[in-house]
């Protein structure tokens, strides 16, 4: 549960940035290398690597080294920006209802 919550917070953090949502939308149309993405989003390679690693940590993207090029594609969840948000919302609601249930149990008889 704790790990699940951490992953979810990671997904929120990953999705809170417009460039990162743009990257997911771009990868929804097919794989791209980090340098392709850096060019498309007019950003330094280092800057792009940082965005890619945040998305990778959140499980929204995976990378694979092919020769000298690091190729990116959508992660295990295979979600683009908007559907990732809807999915994160669903997880959040589930966790909220879990916590509401625990709260109601905890405060039983105290009203």
């Amino acid at each position: 549960m704790v790990q699940f919550a951490t992953q979810l917070d990671g997904a929120f953090a990953a999705l809170s940035d417009q460039t990162r949502r743009g990257i997911l939308e771009r990868l929804g149309r097919g794989e791209a290398s980090i340098s392709d993405l850096a060019t498309k989003f007019e950003m330094s390679l280092t800057g792009m690597k940082k965005h890619v690693s945040i998305l990778e940590d959140a499980g929204l993207l995976t990378t694979e080294k092919v020769g000298r090029v690091r190729s990116c594609k959508l992660g295990p969840r295979r979600l683009e920006g908007e559907s990732a948000w809807i999915s994160a919302y669903q997880q959040m609601l589930t966790e909220q209802l879990d916590h509401l249930e625990a709260f109601l149990e905890r405060t039983k008889g105290s009203e």
Binding site: S16, S83, I86, Y89, Q96, A102
Partner: protein, 163 residues
């Protein structure tokens, strides 16, 4: 409609009638009045809404048209959520818009309904409907574009008349 039980029934049922609607059902071992209190009293909301994270309730106007804004603080940063109440029926139903700062203007409408069960428990049904880009794109191909063009033409005529 696809139904996926996430835990043993009747505790929780999750279903996805479409990719833009999220429906959840829970049965709480508490009377409806207590569930309603937990859903509507800010000092109680703060104890569960943040999922274990610290929650700051920045705004709470619990009335039709009223604005709410919560900020959740975790190790991953602060995330703000907000909305406005569309409908409130005491002990029965809350309808609100729902937005996250990270996806501005991607608005969901959330309806929460409470039902007192004969055995003293309470059933909560939550339905959230998202207005998605896919849906917007669908509308573009089904007449919205024409409608917008007609509006622009009408605007052109008004502007022309103004000289």
């Amino acid at each position: 409609m696809m139904n996926t039980a996430v835990t043993a029934p009747p505790r929780a049922v999750l279903s996805t009638p479409s990719d833009r609607e999220i429906r959840m059902e829970r049965i709480f071992n508490a009377k409806r009045e207590r569930v309603w209190q937990a859903l509507t009293e800010p000092e109680l909301i703060a104890q569960w809404w943040g999922r274990g994270n610290r929650l700051v309730i920045e705004r709470y106007e619990f009335e039709r048209g009223g604005h709410w804004r919560y900020v959740e603080h975790s190790d991953h940063g602060a995330h703000g959520f907000e909305g406005r109440y569309r409908e409130i029926v005491p002990f029965e139903r809350i309808v609100t818009s729902f937005e996250w700062d990270g996806m501005p203007a991607h608005v969901a409408i959330q309806t929460m309904t409470l039902e007192q069960l004969a055995d003293g428990r309470t059933k909560l049904v939550s339905i959230s409907i998202f207005h998605t880009v896919a849906e917007r794109d669908g509308m573009m191909h089904s007449g919205m574009e024409g409608g917008a063009n007609e509006s622009y033409q009408a605007l052109d005529r008004v502007l022309a008349a103004l000289g």
